[in-house]
Amino acid sequence: MIPSKNHIGQSHRRKNALRHLAGRGRFVTDLALPRMVHAAFVRSPMAKGNIVELDVSEAAVASGVVRVFTAETLNHSCVPWTGTLDHFAGMQSGAQNMLASSEVLWVGHPVVMILAHSRAEAEDACELVMLDIEDEDAVVDGDAALVKGTPLAAEGINSNMCFQTLLETPDLDDAFARAAHVVEGKFTFGRHTAVTLEPRAIVADFDPSTGQLDVHHGTQTPYQFQDVYARHFGLSEGRVRVIAPDIGGSFGMKLHVYHEEMAAVAASLMLGRPVRFVADRLESFVSDIHARDHRVTARMALDAEGGILAMDVDDMTQIGAFSSYPRTSVAEGNQVIRLMGAPYQMPDYRGRLSVVFQNKVQTSQYRAVGHPIACAVTEALVDRAAELLDLDPFEIRRRNLLADDAYPHVSATGYQFEKLSHQASLDKLHQMMGYEALRAEQTALRKQGIYRGIGIAPFVEITNPGASFYGVGGARISAQDGAVIRLTPAGDVHCAISVTEQGQGTETIIAQIVADQLGVTPDQVKVTTGDTDNTPSGGATWACRGAGIGGETALRAGRKLQMQILTLAGEILQADQQHLALASGAVVDKTTGQERITLAEIGRIATYRPDTLPKGSDNSLTAAQHFAPTGYPFDFTNGIQASHVEVDIETGVTRLLKHWVVEDCGRIINPLLVDEQIRGGVVQGLGPAVFEECLYDDMGQMTNASLADYLVPMAGEMPDIEIAHIETPTLDTILGAKGVGEAGTAAAGAAAMNAVNDALRPLGARISQTPMTPLRILTALGHV
């Protein structure tokens, strides 16, 4: 075996960052094609109603307008989509199509598409559309939606319950019966949304002369969309190319099927010219998927020593008028009830899930699907138990976290853990944050009327999912990835791979991994991603699979090419390939390290002088490899976070002072990039804990749908984040890497909520709702 050349594990900088720093990004929003037209949509201004009149005649003749489409003229070109999966037994959703035909079902539901020579002209023409909607009572609240006699949120469903499930261990009731202590709580987690800085963007370009559809699409999953466009528009997959260039943020939001993107493709197919749709920020808020929106009732049973016996959880989550496609809107709630209590030795559990339709924007998968909810509920209850038993938050967790030698372990909810490091993480965090000193400071400051709080939250994160995640449910979502690596005639290396780049550093780590297999430097490895015509098919980016699955794919492809190069070198050199290795851009003697022939020379001979090779030699210097995880269904990671806050009890304003993370993502390929994934993830967890919420009134109107009104975390409000690592590689792969992109988001909000409640504790106040706005804190304090 060739020893590692040690680029894996190094903090290599991202070469593709240089383009962005020079203003040379290549985003879909930057693309202008010849004869391109711009799309704008007339949207429903109300949450529910019937279209009684629609007149587009004036818009159709407005300046610059090329074509106006309504449901009648557009929807026939697309097979409707339904967001259900077979493995979520009994789930239901109405079918969706591009434009509303008779009913509008949320504020923002697209009704008319106008194509014009400029976006401004298309928007002007939208003003000329006569749309009369007869208002109906909207289903706004999830609990009310389930009351008998409430109208249905959409057509094609027999109740407002999208999906229900129950997980239960046999001894659950007994566990609560013999418990020495029971703590309980009711929690509300607000709706929020991704707010990627580059909005959703697409340029669909159909060429009728060849039947070729090219779609330039700001998505993290190009192959999924290649399949969607082919099937829903009746095209052969080979004639559909999806190109995802630079993407201005994604975070799960850009892998769902949206009405507007489908409409852009449909319009390009009909017009035979490029159609561009870029959501403006106002329409992003009423059309990008929203996230979370849960009400959770939970209790926890403990023995006299504070040992956790069981949890009993009921989660009601509200998802909009349809389940999203093709991944559904059920995965979030499903993970909420399965991740409860996951870090702990908790033998018994009951989890109930109700996924409910209403007339709002659809919710679906967003970074750390379900994790922040399960973590916040579990850790709030653990803190309540610690308070009841007068135990330090570290001590109660020390007593309950899974022991580091207790693996493999199956959780009460059925998750299989290969090996985690909770106890070591807990110890490391305690030391890193200077816990005792912070507590002493907290006590001293309280005497001065300053209320600081410390909150901790251990977590597990689901990464590297296999086909059990979507594939078994019938979704055409790839659980495998593919790579093609070639040695060029000049001896450079090119890797085309199916995992994609959104700035997290995918291309950089793939270059590091490939470089180590071929004895070159990462600089010598060019990586191509995000183009279905030029890379093999695969799952791309979701559920933290780029490093673990994509990285393993690249490693195995690299080793295959390594063998091909060594075989050819052995034939050229008439040497036993067992005695050869690759290093420093050359084939070397394995024992002495002495150079025998450079890669450039091998490339030259194989390409330009194959006639000089021994008879029967194979001059192929390209290797293809696909890889799908076959071991554990997921590679779980673990870690723990801590938050330090100060609550101004006069104003209710929370200041985030500092944040700490100890994280174990297995083998670390690039420490710089791993840390920045964690930091970005933490801030995406803190945002919804403190600021972010999609606010709706009781008519179903979103009342803060602009970037001036919806609060995103900004630099001045975010803390510095200190990070430490433990490395427990998975043995399922050669590489040993797990995912890391969602770890920060998973537990940051839980730690912050525990910290705020720690600050409020001496005042007898407690908050159980996010975001923890000043008003809600003042309400908890009884000041308003």
Partner: protein
Amino acid sequence: MKTDITLTVNGDAVREAVEPRTSLADLLRDNLQLTGTHLGCEMGACGACLVMLDGAPVHACLVLAVQASGHKVETIEGLNESGLIKDLQERFHDRNALQCGFCTNGMLMSAQALLSENPMPSRPEIREALSGNYCRCTGYESIVDAISATAKMRSGQTGEVS
């Protein structure tokens, strides 16, 4: 009804006919293909469209193209080619102070404006100076580090990030 405007963009004399409602951002991106200036909110909240107008950062989405007539505009492309912010760009690269890259243009503009007014800003001052720059990817700390390191290097101290 289009209006003729003349302005200097990245040192080049530019003459264009624009509609009165055309924003400076749209002029730069659509007419001049200077796509390094990004649009994130079109209401002056996110900072992705910051450019230098006569040396001071402005939101190109809030300035009309006709208002820029007779003035000097510098975009990220111009600043990049001038070499003026090479050190800042290098510290951003070292520190991985960008992920998707969509906010980066605006971050560099704010950082350059801050450092020209306050050569040795504290970390809270840097965070304050970025109060109009939204980044969804990094969590900001690496950006603060990169700007802080640039300030130290420009003032002759080491660029070590503490």
